[in-house]
């Protein structure tokens, strides 16, 4: 037995056979085979094109249904490339002129187009060469049976192993019912990982050289809780993991019985359980666990993985699609929260000695009003299509709120002049994540419609503990009495002003904290969607009136 350790992307345990997923057989068609029957070769190509189009139609439909238009679009583009007659003419030309077989003609055509794109002086276009290759590979697959990639035998128990998977690889493999995948490369924040999570595919990534070619065909077990892969497991391991899987399945089943139930404690206190969303693909899970809404929509992802600022139209389309998908449930969009520690090149923010206390969040937005206004206009316009709210991060003074409101009002009057629809009464809220905001929360509460306590930063700033620092991160304690007292203070001030208060840090999903939050009168807990049902169960088992006095007196 071999035990490989990597990074778990989605929790879950699966058993299966390891299948290598390779792509490098493409160049084996680089040898021309003489064919005296050009017509036969051309019809072979035309039939393969039809089959490929059908495959892409299927992929487009399933991606559209599961993941939305944004992800599905890639298959639409691939279809258009297949329909392109310059491509087809090139293939037919090679078949006729060189008396070549169709596979070779597709290969050569692909190489020529790839070359054209690779030599363009635009990095983005250079990457499009891979689209051409993807399509050509698909067409060749439809003509002949390449070795390696046939994923049809015993579909139900395959686990895919490869160096790295692209998002479209994953979408396609999923439609063939793979159980899980393991890769040598990859990162937890990559598009592929985000997709794997929303598709609930157990997967372990960045295994590096531990993953060896000779494991192909072996029995493997993925343990997505421990981040481990067992290759040719011994009987004791199989027994242990079968038991673990049984327990997990039972737990899952129990939790799913809480779908559709209200978040009300035994004595009738209600709390909203909403989801944190970091990517559009998360929305599917949000709907699956029937969250009360989106309590924190991290808009940063729209700005990441690109070379330029997203336009108002691009942002508008994303916000609008989320707002309408949520069917009237609230969608709290947090404005851009980047800084020197997580930033995009095109923002051009110099390195800082102390980024946590530097140029970040609302400070950047207020300093660069153009970026800010583009985003605000997009959010406002989306507010015509659902229950959209705006949340501003990193607030530390009243003055910031006044400046934000001024800019927001400018955006509103611009939109009014342009006769564009928006919700004039859109609710605005602020993150309470600096000790300063806690201390003046009575003043701030008069200016906004809701508070959202961001515990991760609040703990870091209040306890003076840098979580990235291995020497001190053991002191990072969200349950520190200082933090609980701060949360109480914010809740009390919110209640006095009659506004909503929520918690959107990691501890919102901590079952040990639920009783405390309910006792303090927190109105909303926003967390990563998979935790919602567990917390719902906890809320429904809690009797707040019995524990409130005892908990509050201890703070």
């Amino acid at each position: 037995m071999n035990v490989l350790k990597g990074v778990a992307v989605y929790r879950g345990i699966v058993f299966g056979k390891l299948k290598a997923y390779r792509k490098d057989y493409f160049d084996m068609y680089s040898d021309k085979v003489f064919s005296g029957n050009s017509e036969f070769e051309i019809s072979k190509f035309e039939n393969a094109k039809k089959d490929a189009m059908e495959q892409l139609d299927g992929l487009y439909e399933s991606a559209l249904k599961d993941l939305g238009e944004e992800h599905a679009m890639i298959f639409g583009v691939h279809k258009m490339i297949i329909e392109d007659y310059e491509y087809s003419e090139s293939v037919a030309g090679i078949i006729k002129k060189e008396h070549a077989n169709a596979e070779y003609a597709v290969w050569l055509t692909s190489r020529r187009f790839e070359h054209k794109f690779e030599t363009m002086d635009n990095e983005y276009m250079q990457q499009r060469a891979s689209d051409i290759r993807d399509i050509s590979r698909r067409i060749i697959n439809c003509m002949s049976n390449p070795p390696g990639d046939k994923i049809n035998e015993d579909k139900k128990s395959l686990i895919i192993g490869c160096d790295d998977l692209s998002p479209s690889d994953l979408l396609e493999l999923n439609s063939n019912y793979i159980k899980g995948f393991i890769t040598m490369l990859g990162s937890k924040n990559s598009h592929t990982s985000i997709l794997a999570k929303s598709m609930k595919i157990p997967s372990i990534i960045s295994l590096g050289e531990q993953l060896k070619p000779e494991f192909e065909g072996c029995d493997v077990i993925i343990d997505g809780f421990a981040g481990a892969v067992y290759v040719s497991p011994d009987s004791a391991t199989i027994r242990r993991l079968k038991k673990k899987k049984e327990l997990c399945d039972k737990q899952e089943e129990l939790l799913s019985s809480f779908k559709g139930k209200e978040n009300v404690s035994l004595d009738g206190q209600e709390v909203q359980l909403s989801a944190n969303v970091s990517h559009i693909a998360d929305i599917k899970v949000v709907k699956d666990v029937d969250a009360n809404g989106i309590g924190l929509f991290r808009s940063e992802f729209i700005f990441m993985g690109r070379h330029n600022y997203p336009t108002e139209e691009e942002q508008f389309r994303i916000y609008k699609s989320v707002a309408s998908k949520m069917d009237g449930k609230h969608v709290t969009i947090r404005t851009l929260d980047v800084g020197a520690d997580k930033q995009m090149d095109y923002f051009d923010i110099p390195k800082e000695a102390n980024p946590a206390m530097g140029y970040r969040g609302i400070r950047i937005c207020l300093d660069r009003p153009n970026i800010f206004k583009t985003q605000l206009r997009a959010i406002l316009r989306a507010s015509a299509y659902g229950n959209v709210e705006i949340l501003f991060p990193m607030i530390s003074s009243l003055d910031e709120i006044i400046r934000i409101k001024k800019i927001l009002n400018e955006c509103k009057s611009e939109l009014r002049c342009q006769k564009l629809d928006f919700n004039d009464d859109i609710k605005i809220g602020i993150m309470i994540e600096t000790p300063a905001a806690v201390m003046i929360s009575d003043i701030l509460a008069k200016e906004v419609d809701f508070f959202s306590i961001g515990t991760n930063d609040l703990v870091q700033y209040s306890l003076a503990v840098d979580r990235q620092n291995d020497k001190v991160n053991f002191m990072f304690n969200p349950q520190h009495r200082a933090i609980l007292r701060m949360i109480k203070m914010v809740c009390d001030n919110a209640k006095l002003a009659g506004i909503r208060v929520g918690i959107c840090g990691e501890i919102a999903a901590d079952e040990n904290m639920t009783e405390i939050f309910l006792s303090l009168g927190v109105n909303e807990l926003s967390m990563s969607a998979p935790f919602i049902l567990g917390i719902r169960k906890k809320v429904r088992e809690t009797n707040v009136s019995l524990i409130r006095d005892q908990i509050v007196s201890k703070l």
Partner: protein, 99 residues
């Protein structure tokens, strides 16, 4: 009819913009009996251009390699002037959003 358009998309005319254009042109071809829309890269002040490509073909459009700041030239041949103007108007909406 012809007109010029300066590319503003920082990524240039890549797959998605080219795809949107191709879809649009294909719809025009369906709508009007005689209709041809071509795209090229501007090389002189008077709408002259090098290679002209059928704008309904995504690879052809992409392989022009139009970058931000480049000028594209569009040629619209429709059944009559009214139709050409209609096509141009709709096309400009599309261009301002994706190109």
């Amino acid at each position: 009819m012809n007109f010029k358009y300066k590319i503003k998309n920082p990524c240039g005319v890549h797959a998605r913009p080219a795809g949107h254009l191709a879809t649009f042109v294909k719809n025009c071809n369906k709508k009007y009996d005689e209709c041809e829309i071509k795209i090229g890269k501007s090389i002189s002040a008077d709408c002259g251009c090098g290679d002209c490509k059928d704008a309904s073909q995504i690879l052809s459009v992409m392989s022009l390699g139009l970058k931000k700041g480049d000028e594209a030239v569009f040629y619209i041949y429709g059944p009559d002037e009214q139709a050409e103007n209609d096509i141009k108007r709709d096309m400009c909406d599309l261009l301002s959003e994706h190109f």
